[in-house]
Symmetry: C2
Subunit: 440 residues, 2 copies
């Protein structure tokens, strides 16, 4: 099959046969199909769409373009979790130890990446001594011993995705459900876990602003996971406001420790428990999600999850004393309190603007080469529906200087809408997707 014929068929709205699509993607990974040919193909697919069978073949070909993590030495059940990304969305720090405590094995390959705050690896960097580069053998041994590892990707997983993602970014072909889903799921499939739970965010702080699109993405991802032979499910969850209070790096670690201690309740804690409950149901470690959620909540209350986190930090060379003394984490020199002007009931939050404000004080990267300041960030204290008096505190900015802090404070206030009438808070979990979770 010639590359130009695959492009022409996609252009003409035909369904590309599995074998031809696979050859095209693998050819691209081998530099035999040119960037410009892949770009034309992606645009044709963007405009004409991809069938479910095409998305399955595309995902399988992307997985086949590189190595796959071999988790067969683990006793299992292995499980992975992926969030499509949002603001204050550091669930891995809580979910991974909690899932391990419920008898699952969590192998989480994370990244640094671009965004309002750093990626999970940046957050772990805030823990003194923590190593995020593990060899394959170290990874397997640690997961078998303590049930979890969170580290950088070392093997050459899914090189086709890496190249295609970079290409999509500069050819206006990012926002297509099949391309997004195949990018997400190819990485999860190559990661080797037997079960995969997706946390698909929807709302003002998410890539997906629209619930119907989020559902379409979630359903396709679950379908691709199942086609890849993995127990897969998805939660569609709210990102119409920051998930956690903390938006930053060290500050998100601090909040995670408080949640693991059972001392901090709220939306972030609730979502972590819900995610773990559904992971337990997917892996057979709970009878169903409700049972899993009850057990996860118990592990938080008993201190067992916190102890699991401590062992995880220790295993990867981090200072375990941070569990008792979060003051050992990097601290920003100043805290600026952001107060409501007129107050009222918090009616809406532009969550993305809160993320940008955090990036503005130095918590994120715009370009790969940017340095992150691990100490700075925002603690956003108000939730939609809360009543706040005029002059009441809505956020604390953790910053290096007054000018930056005050600018972030103004951005935060501009991101809020107030109401004098009562406001219902949005549901935390909009929908559960996947037959294995009894979802729709």
């Amino acid at each position: 099959v010639r590359a130009v014929d695959v492009i022409a068929a996609k252009r003409d709205g035909e369904e590309i046969p599995d074998g031809a699509l696979r050859e095209f993607v693998l050819g691209y990974a081998r530099d035999e199909v040119a960037d410009y040919q892949m770009a034309a193909f992606l645009m044709a697919g963007f405009l004409n769409g991809f069938s479910h069978a095409e998305a399955v073949a595309l995902t399988a070909a992307m997985v086949a373009s590189g190595d796959e993590l071999d988790l067969s030495a683990l006793s299992g059940p292995t499980v992975d979790k992926h969030s499509t990304g949002g603001v204050g969305d550091g669930t891995t720090l809580v979910v991974a130890p909690l899932a391990a405590e419920l008898g699952m094995q969590v192998v989480k390959l994370s990244g640094r990446g671009l965004g309002h705050t750093g990626g999970t690896l940046d957050k772990l960097d805030a823990i003194p001594g923590m190593r995020t580069e593990l060899s394959g053998d170290e990874l397997i041994a640690q997961v078998e011993a303590i049930g979890l590892a969170v580290c950088a990707q070392t093997a050459d997983l899914v090189p086709a995705d890496k190249a295609m993602y970079a290409l999509r970014d500069v050819t206006a072909t990012v926002d297509n459900v099949a391309l997004i889903a195949s990018s997400v799921m190819s990485k999860k499939l190559a990661g080797g876990a037997q079960a995969i739970l997706l946390d698909v965010k929807v709302g003002s702080g998410a890539f997906m602003k629209d619930p119907a699109h989020a559902r379409e993405l979630a359903e396709l991802c679950v379908g691709l996971g199942e086609a890849g032979g993995r127990a897969t499910g998805a939660l569609i969850t709210d990102m119409d406001q920051p998930l956690a209070d903390a938006v930053g790096n060290a500050t998100e670690v601090r909040e995670a420790i408080e949640v693991l201690r059972g001392e901090r309740e709220g939306r972030f804690s609730d979502l972590c428990v819900s995610l773990v409950g559904h992971m337990a149901a997917l892996t057979g470690r709970a009878a169903d999600a409700e049972d899993g959620i009850t057990r996860a909540r118990g592990a938080l209350g008993s201190g067992a999850a916190l102890e699991r986190f401590r062992r995880f930090v220790e295993a990867q060379g981090g200072d375990p004393r941070i569990v008792e003394d979060p003051g050992l984490l990097p601290q920003a020199p100043l805290t600026h309190e952001v107060r409501a002007e007129d107050g009222g009931r918090l009616a809406a939050v532009d969550a993305e603007a809160i993320g940008r404000a955090a990036a503005g004080v130095g918590a994120g990267r715009r370009r790969k080469e940017d340095e992150i300041d691990l100490a700075v960030g925002i603690d956003f204290l108000a939730s939609i529906g809360d009543e706040v008096e005029a002059g009441g505190i809505v956020a604390r900015v953790l910053a290096n200087d007054d000018a930056t802090a005050e600018a972030a404070g103004r951005e935060i206030l501009a991101a809020l809408e107030w109401s004098q009438a009562p406001v219902d808070p949005p549901p935390l979990v909009h929908a559960v997707i996947g037959e294995r979770l009894g979802g729709t």
Copy 2:
């Protein structure tokens, strides 16, 4: 304007403003916009279409990407002619001297290129001694002296088209009317002539198989020429059978000489006369096309056109004796006669298959680096509607060996359909396009 935003706008079906489109194309010519970005843009435009204003801006930007030929030193009127290509379509050899004889100045930049036979330059190469590389000064001086020059492009005309054409070929974005028209017309506009006549072919041997598509292309080309300030018109002409009898290189030169001598009538001669008549009307050298056609026919009958051709050959270093003695042109070692099996009335010809048969004996190139055999080819003697007896000659194959010649003979016979009932020959000129020609 960022390139990715131009791509996104085209993807979303928006009309790109002139300035942004110009910047995008010029950026591409300067290597600031990447091949993969142009490929994504071309595919988006292929699927969403280009408006007339976009085609105009695209053409202007392509012209601006390189040099333009400066013909201001010529007394004029200058005229150019372009055929979209077919089989036995060597009209330039007759049209250029005939137009010069009617007082027009013809500057024809030609190519070698790929195809069933060589390009116009290859055909000229069949004339011993003929030079096709002229400097700019030589070109101007020759045209001012004798009214015509046919040579290779030396200046850096329309580099954006060259790059885009190569890209379209490997990204399945060739067959789009706006892209074809802007490619054709940018080269014609950069060529500098005041008047442009297009010969848009339609039929089994043409790129355009469908009359509606040919008309759409012709109308857009005429619109782009007019927008570029040139007197422009188009004929839509038949390519449901080879235009000339001769399909090859030396053999096409031989046939052209016979036509210029006024000794060979038929479709090829008729079309050359019609093209020149319309060129005369466009440039004001005739009152209208009919008047131009009458004058062109007169120039063939008087021997004036042949003399003009002789001066042209001499001016470019060729052996002028070929005009009297076509035997000086390269001769194939053998001639194989192809005879009708059952005979009847010739009802249809797969003209492209005749072209492929000519290429099969060595008259064309498949790849740039292929060598052409200037002596070989096909003389295809039957026209649609002709009655041929069983065993009557339909073609002569000019070849180097029997096996090749016989294979071509079989291909020719397979390309013919016969009827026992009378068959009307197709019209030679389907339509005249362009207000200046009184066309529709």
